[in-house]
C-alpha cells in the first residue's frame, strides 16, 4: 500500500514554522475479536501508523469507506478510546483521556432529553463550574450563532433533527475548545437540511475561526467543507493520501461548486483512492 509521507504533504508554505493544533504521529489501534467462545481471539488492526497534522483555523476531513476506522480515530483524538501506540498532541499536550480542550459533535445529536436547548448547551459549562448567569449568557450567544436564538426554551423532542444537531454544535462550541471534532454530524439528516447545515458550518467556522476535524463518508461534503482531506484506506486504516482542497475560503455553494472541473477531478481522484479501483 502506498503510504505518503505526511511531513512532505502537510508542509504547505504558509504553515512552515507554525505549531500544529493537532499532531497525530504513528497512531495504531487494534481490537480483539472473538468469533465464537471456543475460537482463539483474533486481532483486528483498525488503524496502522496514522500520522497527520491539523493547523489553526483549518477544516480537515477524514474520509474513507465504512469500517476504515475514521470514527475510531476521531474518538481516539477525543480520548474516548485509548490508542495502542503512537503520539497524539493537542496544542503540544499529549492526549491521555477526554478533555475540555476538545469539543465533540456526535453523529446522533445525543442531546439530554430532560434539558431545554439552552440547558443542553450549558452542559459542558456546568462541568467547568461556570456561574449560572455566565452560563446562560454564553449559551444564548451560541444558540444565536447556530441560528436557534428563538428555540432556547424548547426541549429536544420539540426540535427537528437539523435543529437538534445545531444544538449539539452549540454545546460543543460553548466550552471554547481548541479543536472541534465532528463525527459524521450531518449523515442522519435529509439531503436538503444537510446542505443547509453544511453552509451554516462554513459560516460559523468563518465567524469563530475554529479548527475542525470532520469525519465523513460523503465525498461532496468533504470537498465542499474542507481545506484538506485525509483519505484513509481500509483494514488496516492508514493514511493513503492527504489532499489539498484549492477552493479557498470564499467558495461557492455546493451545487455551483460541483460544476468546477477541479471539483470533479478531485472527486474522482478520492473515489479511486477509497475504492481501490480505477476511475470509471
Amino acid at each position: 500500500m502506498k503510504q505518503i509521507d505526511v511531513a512532505t504533504t502537510a508542509s504547505v508554505p504558509n504553515r512552515a514554522g507554525e505549531a500544529p493544533r493537532l499532531s497525530v504521529s504513528n497512531v495504531c489501534k487494534a481490537f480483539r475479536i472473538r468469533k465464537g467462545a471456543s475460537q482463539p481471539a483474533a486481532l483486528l488492526q483498525v488503524l496502522k501508523s496514522i500520522s497527520f497534522e491539523v493547523y489553526n483555523n483549518e477544516i480537515v476531513s477524514l474520509i474513507g469507506e465504512s469500517g476504515c476506522g475514521k470514527t475510531t480515530l476521531l474518538r481516539i483524538i477525543q480520548g474516548l478510546i485509548h490508542h495502542d501506540s503512537g503520539t497524539l498532541l493537542v496544542e503540544g499536550q499529549p492526549v491521555t483521556g477526554p478533555g475540555r480542550d476538545r469539543g465533540f459533535v456526535f453523529q446522533q445529536p445525543s442531546l439530554l432529553p430532560w434539558r431545554t436547548a439552552q440547558e443542553n448547551v450549558e452542559f459542558g459549562l456546568e462541568l467547568q463550574r461556570m456561574s449560572a448567569t455566565d452560563r446562560a449568557a454564553r449559551a444564548r450567544k451560541l444558540l444565536q450563532l447556530v441560528g436557534l436564538g428563538d428555540a432556547a426554551e424548547q426541549f429536544p423532542h420539540q426540535l427537528s433533527g437539523g435543529m437538534q444537531q445545531r444544538v449539539g454544535l452549540a454545546r460543543a462550541l460553548a466550552i471554547e475548545p481548541a479543536l472541534l471534532l465532528m463525527d459524521e454530524p450531518f449523515s442522519a439528516l435529509d439531503a436538503q437540511t444537510r446542505e443547509v447545515l453544511q453552509k451554516e458550518l462554513l459560516r460559523i467556522q468563518a465567524e469563530t475561526h475554529k479548527t475542525i476535524v470532520f469525519v465523513t463518508h460523503d465525498l461532496d461534503e468533504a470537498l465542499y467543507l474542507s481545506d484538506r482531506i485525509i483519505v484513509l484506506g481500509a483494514r488496516p486504516g492508514g493514511v493513503k493520501e492527504i489532499i489539498e482542497v484549492p477552493f479557498g475560503s470564499n467558495r461557492p455553494e455546493l451545487p455551483l461548486l460541483r460544476g468546477d472541473p477541479r471539483f470533479q477531478a478531485l472527486r474522482s481522484r478520492i473515489w479511486e483512492l477509497i475504492s481501490n479501483r480505477p476511475t470509471l
Binding site: Q78, F106, S110, F155, H157, S160, M163, V196
Partner: protein, 275 residues
C-alpha cells in the same frame, strides 16, 4: 432562509398534534364511560338484592353501611391507621429501592453479588413469610411496616436498576466526551435518564404495598382496614365488609393516579415520545 425547511417541519408537527388532540377531545368517550358505570351499578343492585345478604351485598346497602361506619368514626380510624403503615412502609421501600437499584444497575459486581437474591425474593410470594414476620416483630406496627416494605421494595429496585442499565450509551458518551467525572455522570446523566423507570417501579410498588398492608392487617388484626374486613366478615355483615374494600380500591386508584401524574411531570419528553 437557512431555517425555512426546519421551521416548516416543526410548524407542521405542532399543527398535527393540535388537530389530533382536539379531535380526541370531541369524541364522547366520557359519555360511554358514564353509561357503563350506571349500567353496571344498576345490574349489581338488581342481582345483589336477589342473593342472601350473607353472601353478597349491593350498592345501596353498602352506601348505607358506609354512612354508619363513617358516622361512628370506625372507618376513619381504620383508614388513618392503614395509611400510616402504608405511607411509611412505602416511603422506606422507595428510598431503599432507589438507592440499591442505582448501585445494582451501575456496578456489575454489585449486580453479580445480588441478582440471584433479588430474583429469588422477587419470585417468592412474600406474603408467605407473614407468619414468620409476626414471630420476629410481634403483632404490632413494625411487623406491618416490614411486610409493606419487603413487598414494595422489589419493583422499585428492579425497575431502577433496569433504568440505569438502559441509559443510552450515547448519553453516557456525552458525559465522557465533556470529561465529566463518574459522580457528575451519575448525577447529570444516569439519574435523570433513569427517573422514568424509577417512577414506573414506584407505581408498580404501590399496588404491592397495598396488598402487603392488607395481608399484614389480616394476620395481626388489631387495627386498620384489613382488620375491619376480617371483623365484619366474621360477623357476616357483608355490606359493612365491602366498605373497607372499596376504601382500599380508592386508595389504590388515587395513589396510582398521583404516581402517573408525577411520572409525566418528571419525564414530559417520554410522555410525548410515547404518543
Amino acid at each position: 432562509m437557512a431555517l425555512t425547511t426546519e421551521v416548516d417541519d416543526a410548524a407542521r408537527e405542532t399543527e398535527l398534534e393540535e388537530l389530533g388532540g382536539s379531535k380526541a377531545a370531541r369524541k364522547p368517550y366520557w359519555l360511554v364511560r358514564a353509561i357503563s358505570i350506571v349500567l353496571i351499578l344498576a345490574l349489581w343492585e338488581v342481582v345483589g338484592r336477589q342473593v342472601s345478604p350473607l353472601f353478597m351485598s349491593y350498592p345501596s346497602a353498602i352506601a348505607r353501611a358506609a354512612v354508619q361506619l363513617t358516622a361512628s368514626g370506625e372507618l376513619w380510624g381504620a383508614f388513618l391507621s392503614s395509611m400510616e403503615t402504608l405511607t411509611l412502609g412505602f416511603l422506606l421501600a422507595t428510598i431503599a429501592g432507589v438507592l440499591l437499584g442505582l448501585l445494582i444497575g451501575r456496578y456489575r459486581y454489585v449486580d453479580a453479588a445480588t441478582d440471584w437474591l433479588v430474583n429469588a425474593l422477587y419470585s417468592t410470594p412474600l406474603v408467605a413469610i407473614t407468619p414468620l414476620v409476626v414471630l420476629w416483630f410481634g403483632l404490632g406496627f413494625s411487623a406491618k411496616l416490614f411486610i409493606v416494605f419487603i413487598l414494595a421494595i422489589f419493583p422499585v429496585l428492579i425497575n431502577t436498576a433496569s433504568g440505569v442499565r438502559n441509559v443510552p450509551s450515547q448519553l453516557i458518551d456525552v458525559g465522557n466526551a465533556f470529561a465529566a467525572s463518574e459522580r457528575e455522570i451519575f448525577a447529570k446523566v444516569i439519574l435523570p435518564a433513569s427517573l422514568p423507570y424509577m417512577m414506573t417501579g414506584i407505581r408498580l410498588g404501590i399496588g404491592r404495598a397495598i396488598i402487603g398492608m392488607v395481608v399484614a392487617e389480616f394476620f395481626t388484626a388489631i387495627n386498620g382496614l384489613g382488620a375491619l374486613i376480617i371483623k365484619y366478615g366474621n360477623q357476616f355483615e357483608t355490606a359493612a365488609m365491602f366498605v373497607p374494600i372499596l376504601c382500599l380500591m380508592l386508595m389504590g386508584v388515587v395513589y396510582t393516579a398521583i404516581a402517573i401524574r408525577f411520572e409525566h411531570w418528571v419525564a414530559p419528553w417520554r410522555h410525548t415520545e410515547d404518543e
